[in-house]
Amino acid sequence: MTQEFTVVGSRQPLVDSWKKVTGQAVYGDDVRFPNTLYARLLRSTLPHAKILRIDASRAEALPGVRAVVTGADAPAKFGVLPISQDEEALATDKVRYVGDCVAAVAADDEATAAKAIEMIEVVYEKLPEYFTTDEGLVPVEEPIHEWTVDGSNTQKRVDQHFGDMDKAIADAAVAPSGFFKFIGVGHAFTEPHAVTAVPESDGRLSLYTPTQVPHYVHRALARVMDMPMHRVRIFRTAVGGGFGGKSDPFPHEMATCLLARKVQRPVRLTFDREEIFLTNRGRHPGTVDVQIAFDKDGKILGLDTTAIIDGGAFASFGVVTTYYNGVLSQGPYKIPNFRYSGRRVYTNKAPCGAMRGHGAVNSRYGIESVIDMACEELAIDPIELRLKNVLEPYSKTTNEFRITSNGIVECLERVRDETDWISKKGHLPFGKGIGVSCGFFISGSALPIHKTRTPQSTVHLQIDVDGGITAHSQGAEIGQGSDTVIAIAVAEVLGVPMDFVRVRSADSDTAPLDLGAYSSRGCFMIGNAAREAALVIREKLSRAAGRLTGADPNDFTFADATLNCASDPSTHVSYFEALTEALADNGALIAKGWYQSPRMGGTFKGAGAGLAPAYSFNACVAEVDVDLETGLIKCTAMALAHDCGRALNRLAVEGQIEGCMHMGLGQALLEEMRYDRGRITNPNLLDYKVLSPFETPAMKVIIVESEDKEGPFGAKEAGEGPLIPVLPALGNAVYNAVGYRSMELPIRPEKVFDHIRRLRKTDAGLTKTWEQNVR
């Protein structure tokens, strides 16, 4: 460490943790207003059908029913990305998947609302149904949306080529390839979507919602309700987990507001678990076709990849996902030649969107598996080969990503040393295996979704006579700790205990703009904004201390709620003395700090995708024990080294990394959204299998601090990137254990079992097969 910090780098419970563990936090379903009505949604049971007629008269006549709304009440389209606004509050002309919202009812109680929903008659005309990407790549009879590519269901095409990929393959000593398939997975957050819409006495409309993106909900809601933004208020409740699943503006938010405006009473709506699965926005299912060219020494010559992703019925973040599946392959290795073809296809299934490690998880599984193949072909240790190829700090990728701090070498070396890799790799008995993978992720998106020069994050600070520092921000605290980052940054700069800082980040009426909790931007951008704001206050207090003591205002350091004169230790004033002086003839201290990414990137089409002010790097080693009789895989240990620039709060960083390991292993081993002709067949947490504690391995978290020059106190992201290497590390470990390379996720025990059974049949002994074919 080059700098001494007092709060930064310590282990702090999140500032909102106490009220969460004591039940005091107000989540979406905890919001209460007098005279509230209860809403339910009518959802389509057909995957693709034209709406010919909706008759709600019987429902409206049911005692206790106060309002029914349909698509005709608010036909404006919306969506999280301005370039793909394809959603409606309630379907107008047709339904596009099983679960699409068709009508909403508000009633005196939930049971009445549910009963009324059953009484709404909808006459449909069935349309051709499309459930696979293959069906959607070619022109179809009835495209799911109007503006698709050439009459197909293709929503987005991306084609990029840097250098000469064909030559790289021709020149290669080895060029292994793989075609990988991925099932869709959901976020499985704890808290269901739960919203309350409140028509205010002054004609404004308030929406209480557990959202990751209050600002985008604000924009979309104003558009759908046809109200100016200043007449709409978004109150972000406590969020019981998001992981990307609460980062879209949603139809149910719009529908609840429509009902509230219609009846002029508060209306609340809480989802059941099935509705969460139907709303989805989880990781895209799809295929990744990867070929990587290497020279004889293991240096990467080029990467050729194709990703075809199944978007479901709506666009959501899909344009970004389509890019990310390719462009985020540009790290952590030097890729001199690069070709990417990406397609996102609409299908009549629940819409996919952003999920932890957005767009970089499945493609990384393909890449790191193929690298593992190359290591075997070239007989080079997997960690050694990776070390040969890593990007340099403060360099540039082929597609002009600006790389700043980069601790990938330390990440790889530490997982190697701290897992005893060298003595294990190649020396484990059949059935036990060890595997490695690297990861790479953005630390915020350099370009905002909406073209604007407004800063991406702004923090206001206010201090009055009590000395407490109120920090206002729209940074969405979703359990990841962004409120705590603000408190840490302010306390660090002003040399006060963290309990001097109270963060107010819930209310759009008082919160200055922040774009929300997505793309791992919070710590970097909100942290920088908070630090800047605190520096303004520090300057004011320094000047006050100068006036009180006659010392040079620039000579004061801040610690233990005291301003100390660096050149004269006998000169100091307390924080309160300085504050009192600063408030005199002035009033409350007010300050603002903001963050805007610097300009960067190339000028080619799609150059903005994946651009970030900094990138995180990591490496993961997984150890597995495969049951040779059943094929079941047990991950026995996992070590993950993550370069987060600097850990502002070590406890939070450790928690994020452990969460990533758990979630990544879930997708690798068990989690999948199963469909039957467009209908989800496992929309509950018994059949959608999140790992239980028994399946969770011993975890070793290694924090690597590369001290990013632009990050707040050197920090970068830690919430998403650590998930990315988990899956391929596991897959590579399974291969190491039994010689089975899973070309799909989750890795299915029945296929591992079949593989072992084949080995038993075709060879005299497993050990012999193992030694000959695998090591």
Binding site: E110, T681, P683, D687, S692, F694, E695, E750
Partner: protein, 335 residues
């Protein structure tokens, strides 16, 4: 939120009173034990009834002594009964791997014996069943698993306690409108996912009872599923044996969760009585069990794989009975 349908809740204080309420409930009723199965199905709108009769307040169902366990005893209470576990140690692991601590706190023995058969087409919300198409067990015209079956449901039996009681020679005491009767648990089940067993609707499981010589049996329950907590069995094998040295004097086998009832595999067990419990015998029994099991696609895992695993679990059960240290790599710990 998922809403429970409206029903009248009765809280009788005796078995006779409960049966009286049941007989009066002409529009249909269900008995309620812990509710961890029934109320979930109610929330899904599965075969609901207007009257629910809680058995939680009936003292005579809560008794537990000397191998007799009342139908209303919670699974957690059995787990805490040191004497019972000492006499029948196989239940220690059976219970440890059943559902979750929270569910065991509420769920009862009778509730687990009677846990409704499960199927990927059945255990869905009303909305999902409308979208997916209804099945024979819930107001549909035919079974979705075995297409064309209009008179037999193939939903999977998913309880864990019954197979263990069966291999230990357990009996069941039932009380009904016509008085009490006792039957061997192995005779209790009826091969149909809807009918499930021979219990008359009004009858109540008073207790399950184990004979005293069951204490000298060696037994094992091997449960296969992808998660060690929460999950119902994808398949399981229960086995018990009385050994005379290496020789099998008595053998009982149940293939569980591969059909609509726990399958009492008497023919296979009889074939090997008198044999030495050698590796070859274990392999032969395992192969016979594998062949006999005919799971269908009613659960998560493919039927062919589940069938293969019946053999593996059988071998593990027998090895445990023999005294081998059986390593269950699922948990990474020696059993």
């Amino acid at each position: 939120m998922m809403i429970l349908p409206e029903f009248e809740l009765a809280r009788p204080r005796s078995v006779d009173e409960a049966i009286g309420v049941a007989r009066a409930a002409t529009d249909g009723f269900d008995y309620l034990g812990g509710g961890t199965d029934l109320l979930c199905n109610y929330k899904w709108g599965l075969n609901t009834n207007p009257t629910v009769i809680s058995l939680r307040h009936i003292g005579e169902l809560q008794r537990m002594a000397d191998g007799s366990v009342g139908g209303g005893v919670t699974l957690a209470a059995i787990e805490k009964d040191a004497d019972f576990l000492h006499d029948f140690p196989v239940f220690r692991r059976t219970l440890d791997r059943l559902a979750s601590p929270l569910i065991r706190q509420t769920g009862t023995l009778a509730g687990n014996i009677l846990v409704d058969t499960r199927c990927i087409w059945l255990n869905q919300s009303l909305f999902a069943r409308k979208a997916l198409g209804k099945c024979l067990k819930a107001d549909g015209p035919e079974c979705r698993v075995v297409k064309g079956s209009i008179d037999r449901c193939y939903a999977n039996y998913s309880g864990d306690m019954a197979p263990v009681f069966m291999v230990l020679g357990g009996t069941m005491r039932l009380a009904g409108p016509d008085g009490e009767r006792t039957l061997l648990l192995r005779d209790f089940f009826a091969l149909d996912g809807i009918r499930r067993n021979v219990k008359q609707k009004e009858e109540i499981i008073v207790s399950l009872d184990l004979p005293s010589d069951a204490k000298t049996l060696r037994a094992s329950y091997q449960k296969f599923r992808v998660r060690e907590a929460w999950d119902f069995p994808e398949l399981a094998v229960a086995a018990s044996a009385r050994m005379d040295g290496d020789r099998i004097e008595e053998l009982s086998l149940v293939a569980n969760a591969v059909a609509s009832i726990p399958l009492w595999m008497d023919e296979i067990a009889a074939k090997y009585r008198g044999e030495t419990l050698s590796d070859a015998t274990i392999d032969a029994i395992a192969e016979d069990m594998r062949k006999a099991a005919k799971p269908v696609k009613a659960t998560l895992l493919p039927p062919g794989y589940r069938k293969a695993m019946v053999g593996v679990m059988t071998a593990r059960a027998l090895r445990e009975i023999r005294g081998d240290v059986v390593t269950e790599k699922q948990s990474g710990e020696a059993a």
